[in-house]
């Protein structure tokens, strides 16, 4: 497992350095649809940042900009000091749906990123098996997606994301479609994994509690036009216990986020 951890956290950048930087980043799909307007922020190596806000406030847009999947309209966006123009090897993305290939077993799905890079080595295969074990899917390595529950499918997707070797993880409501119990468990596991690999993580969610519980920093966004309204630091040390959510300090932060979003949240 140590080898696996090393393979992921192979970046030469030290913890604390700026990894993602945006200055007045704007994305307009048309003149009237401004999905993101003048967003400016810095994300440091190893940080976990939650993006929270109501539907349509541009969370996915921001994530897809960082992923290099869509082009910005104006402003600046750099990752490791380089302007983002296309998908990078050190960023990996995960979606709300697992998007597994039905004709492949779990481990074959996890191996997809290795395959796209070139020939799959036995080392890659062992690594994939290790990641599946890490996400709690030991004994399900050779099962097809249709035979897995939604939560298990999303675990496969997480293992696949780790297999890319990316140290910047972009997660777009990755557990949003799952029931609350499964979501809570996966959140805890996710926190353990990102701490172990020291990845920089951008995590989109609708859920304020979840956003705060997971993150070092919460970016609160508001819609029409999509704006980054406030950045709130979360002072609690990671990893955290579920019981943290019951403390007054935690609930004070919840109230603070809610305040920015206005009454309907």
């Amino acid at each position: 497992m140590a080898a696996v951890a090393q393979a992921v956290a192979s970046s030469k950048v030290a913890v604390g350095d700026t990894v993602i930087q945006a200055n007045n980043l704007t994305k307009a799909f048309s003149e009237s649809v401004v999905a993101l307007e003048n967003a400016s922020f810095k994300i440091k190596k190893g940080d976990f940042v939650s993006l929270v806000g109501p539907s349509g406030c541009g969370k996915s847009t921001l994530l897809r900009l960082v992923a290099g999947l869509i082009k910005k309209t104006s402003g600046n966006l750099t990752v490791h000091g380089k302007e983002v123009t296309e998908p990078r090897a050190d960023t990996g993305m995960m979606f709300q749906r697992p998007i597994l290939l039905e004709w492949r077993t779990s481990v074959e799905n996890v191996l997809l990123p290795s395959e796209l890079l070139g020939k799959v080595t036995n080392e890659d295969k062992r690594r994939a098996m290790g990641f599946l074990e890490m996400v709690g899917l030991k004994d399900f390595e050779f099962t097809f997606p249709r035979q897995l529950s939604g939560g298990m499918q999303q675990r496969v997707a997480l293992a696949r994301l780790l297999q890319t070797g990316a140290d910047i993880l972009l997660l777009d409501e990755p557990f949003g479609a799952l029931d609350e119990f499964t979501r809570e468990r996966l959140n805890v596991e996710l926190m353990r994994i990102v701490s172990q690999f020291k990845t920089t993580t951008l995590f989109v969610t609708h859920n304020i509690q979840e956003a705060i519980f997971l993150a070092d920093q919460v970016h609160v966004m508001t819609p029409r036009p999509g704006r980054l309204a406030k950045i709130i630091d979360v002072p609690f040390a990671r990893p955290r216990e579920i019981s943290l959510q019951l403390t007054p300090e935690f609930n004070k932060l919840v109230a603070e986020v809610r305040d920015v979003l206005g009454g309907d949240h």
Partner: protein, 292 residues
Amino acid sequence: MSAITEGDVTALTDDADSSGQRAWIITKHLILFAVLILLWELAARAGWADPLMFPAPLGIVKQIWFIYVVQQNVWFHLYTTFAEAMAGLFFGSIMGIGLATAAALSLRFREYIKPYIIVIEATPRIAVGPLFIAWLGFGFSSKVALASLVCFFGPFVNTLTGLLNVDDEAEEMFRSMRATKWQTFWGLRVPNSATILMAGLKLGCSSAFGGALVAEFISANQGMGVLMSRYTYTLNMNGAFATLLSITFFAFLLFKIADVIDYYTVYWRSDSLMQAKSKKRKAAFLKAIAQN
């Protein structure tokens, strides 16, 4: 974990249920079929229907025996029509799948061929038969040409639909992993279109015989179409029905073969096939990583 066991249990009970139910359904169908045949036989014997036009079932069975076993002349014609249909299916599907692939890969090509496809689509394909015979003669090739034309559309439309209707997010995921256009094509689009592509081929199978037969009706000197025309001209209705039933039988057989190929190609629809595949791939995989 629960998902797996649940899946298994329902799969098993499903199978048990359906096999019991299926036996009963088949029995009901057979009874109804037997009654209909019996009524027909009775009607023919009682003279309710003109026996010259509507021969009795027993007479047809006798005729089938006669042309296949006693006289054996049907085999040659059957072979001819079968060969035409298969060649037509082959060329029609290759053309359909090939053009659809090109159209899926290139927007510009898609735009260029679109008007032609629409025109061909609007033309009753069978009506082109006499032209093909004028161009290619009375022999084999004109029959194959018509069968190909008739077969072309199922595979073409389905392949194009399958290749183009890919989940946007899946494509985005491939892109986020820096996949090339070809990697996305082979790794995502092609397997993704397998189900609908196979359905297109099945459509092609059903059309192939029709195309070959119609071409034979128009003009030919061998084949089941010729045989059937001959029997009807001479008012040998037993013979005509026997020929028709043969064609139905073989077209059905071809369709079933395609069905089986479909079942095994798109293995991820079947629990039992997935289980077998899992086992095989597991063994191979574990063997591979055991070495260095």
